[in-house]
């Protein structure tokens, strides 16, 4: 263990691999020193585990209705009570983590690369390309995110896939902004000039030399953004435009509990708490990552 630590923390690394591992290890040490980030990491890992082993964690079938046991308070049988259709809320929350994670991952995987590429292209070429791309970005930024997503979903029809598409279409501009800003800094640097002099094409420079420089900030951005995505998805679900019943989506679950919130508060309270904890987990982790990856 000490040998490994010494290997990782040495000042003169013998190989590129060692220095990279060493850097990663140093960053991990810094991250580990931030208790809030560790809480975030714990929440995110728990979320992943719960989603992966949902059938083992859940105590009931998340979809099966049992009208005889509707709106039950918390008990040994129903840990978090039951909803208006007699479904176990705890089990629905457990299965709901899969829906949430699916949305988040699908959005980030599509949005990150697209936003990066658009931003890097705008920043690298400058001029009218930049102006055009940034105007388009501004159009999407000017519109309230939820209303835009709402408009898109109502145009495309409600449903999980369309909700993901709509969120993705509203989520890329910040990435493009960040990537553009980073590119503007990098663009004039000597190593880009060197690559150009070697005859590298613009496409190759953007992809091979510019985009990688934007990746750390994009990672931080997406870690922080995941919380935003969770909230937008939940908002759409709450308005009935996201995942459709009987799929257990947290936002939609809050909406079903809205009617009884003054009498059977648990129906709305717990799914909302789940949203809150997950989003907080991603935020805490992203916040810690920013301290580590962004020198500023």
């Amino acid at each position: 263990m000490t040998a490994l630590r010494a290997y990782l923390l040495t000042d003169d690394a013998q190989s590129r691999m060692q220095s990279r591992l060493g850097q990663a290890y140093r960053r991990w040490l810094v991250l580990r020193g931030n208790p809030l980030a560790m809480v975030g990491l714990f929440i995110v890992i728990t979320l992943l585990l719960v989603a992966a082993f949902a059938p083992l964690v859940a105590t009931h079938d998340p979809i099966e209705q049992n009208l005889a046991h509707r709106l039950q308070p918390m008990s040994a049988e129903y840990w978090l009570g039951t909803d208006a259709l007699g479904r176990d809320i705890f089990s629905r929350i457990v299965y709901g983590s899969r829906v949430t994670l699916f949305i988040v991952l699908a959005v980030v995987v599509t949005v990150g690369p697209v936003g990066l590429l658009i931003g890097a292209t705008a920043g690298y070429f400058g001029g009218w390309v930049d102006t055009l791309l940034m105007r388009i970005t501004d159009v999407f930024l000017a519109f309230p995110r939820l209303i835009l997503a709402l408009a898109l979903v109502s145009a495309l029809g409600s449903g999980l896939e369309n909700a993901i598409l709509a969120i993705a279409l509203t989520a890329w501009p910040p990435y493009a902004r960040v990537a553009r800003a980073e590119t503007m800094v990098v663009r004039k640097s000597d190593y880009i000039a060197a690559a150009r002099m070697q005859g590298a094409s613009a496409f190759r420079i953007i992809l091979g030399h510019v985009t990688p420089m934007c990746v750390p900030s994009a990672i931080v951005r997406s870690a922080l953004d995941m919380a935003g995505i969770i909230l937008t998805a939940a908002g759409l679900g709450f308005l009935g435009l996201g995942a459709q019943p009987p799929l257990p989506e947290w936002g939609a679950m809050v909406a079903t509990g809205r009617e009884q919130v003054f009498d059977q508060w648990w129906v709305a309270a717990f799914p909302g708490l789940a949203i809150c904890i997950c989003a907080l987990g991603f935020n805490l982790l992203g916040d810690g990552l920013r301290d580590v990856l962004d020198a500023r």
């Binding site: 923390l9 140093r26 040490l29 810094v30 580990r32 020193g33």
Partner: protein, 283 residues
């Protein structure tokens, strides 16, 4: 190390250490530095990262977090600096010890007129009206040979040149007539043509008021010409202390290295020698 005056030393420092602890490593930026300063001009020379700037900041109690300062002895005009509270140290700053920094572009507040910044320095240390402070500030601008003080008073920092900015800085930090001035690379950011002008002003004011001066620089010949005594720092440790007049006879290989890495018209070299560094120098 004889002091040129008979009075008790202005500043006495024994075994000064500055360390930066982080979770991953500890950086020992200044190691065991000791010196005594009278009302004289002392040069501290070294490469970047040698700890020369931190030495100045440690004296002023301005080492940024998470830096930690420790010393066996630190006295200023007979007062024990180590025993003082942060507030007492703050009261010394400006009034009794002060500092000029490298680049006036960054060391002046960009959203306040330079005149108000100088007037503020006066009002921080003695009770006076705004009008009086303005009078003093105008006078101070004049003392650093600014021709139209009234006009300059109302300029913002971005509207003045580097040389004028540095003269404004000097006027400002000398407002309360401190006994000790630390000049941290005061001319490195300036054009060569105005460097000498600014140095001359600094020299005059220091002599006129009988201040002690610590002149921090990487430029050994400049320091040699400007100061009475020179301390050569490497990696936070003193390599050598010598009288400025004996600089040419420096014995330490590092000092010689610093001197030799300047191009010399009378010397025929194919390439400038690279500065040699040796871990064995660090005790």
């Amino acid at each position: 190390m004889s002091s040129s005056t008979a009075r008790p030393p202005l500043l006495e420092i024994a075994n000064l250490n500055v360390q930066f602890h982080s979770r991953v490593e500890t950086v020992h930026a200044v190691r065991g530095l000791s010196f005594t300063l009278g009302r004289e001009r002392l040069g501290i020379v070294g490469e970047s990262g040698s700890g020369k700037s931190l030495t100045g900041r440690a004296i002023l109690d301005l080492v940024p977090l998470p830096g930690r300062v420790s010393a066996d002895r630190m006295t200023f005009m007979g007062q024990d600096l180590l025993a003082m509270s942060a507030k007492q140290r703050g009261a010394l700053r400006g009034a009794h010890m002060s500092m000029v920094m490298q680049d006036p572009k960054f060391s002046l507040n960009p959203v306040m007129t330079v005149g108000r910044q100088i007037a503020e320095a006066y009002r921080a240390h003695s009770k006076m009206s705004g009008r009086q402070a303005e009078e003093h500030a105008l006078h101070a601008l004049e003392s650093v040979r600014i021709r139209d003080p009234r006009r300059v008073y109302n300029l913002y920092p971005h509207e003045v040149s580097g040389g004028m900015g540095q003269r404004i800085m000097i006027a400002m930090v000398l407002a309360a007539e401190p006994e000790l001035l630390i000049a941290d690379e005061p001319t490195s950011a300036l054009d060569v043509t105005v460097q000498m002008q600014v140095l001359a002003i600094l020299d005059d004011l220091v002599k006129e008021r009988g201040m002690g001066l610590i002149f921090i620089s990487h430029d050994l010949p400049l320091v040699g010409a400007f100061c009475d005594r020179v301390i050569v720092l490497y990696s936070g440790q003193v390599m050598e202390t010598l009288e400025a007049s004996e600089l040419a006879q420096a014995k330490h290989p590092y000092t010689q290295g610093l001197l030799n890495c300047m191009p010399d018209l009378n010397r025929r070299d194919d390439a400038l020698p690279v500065l040699k560094r040796d871990k064995a120098w660090l005790a």
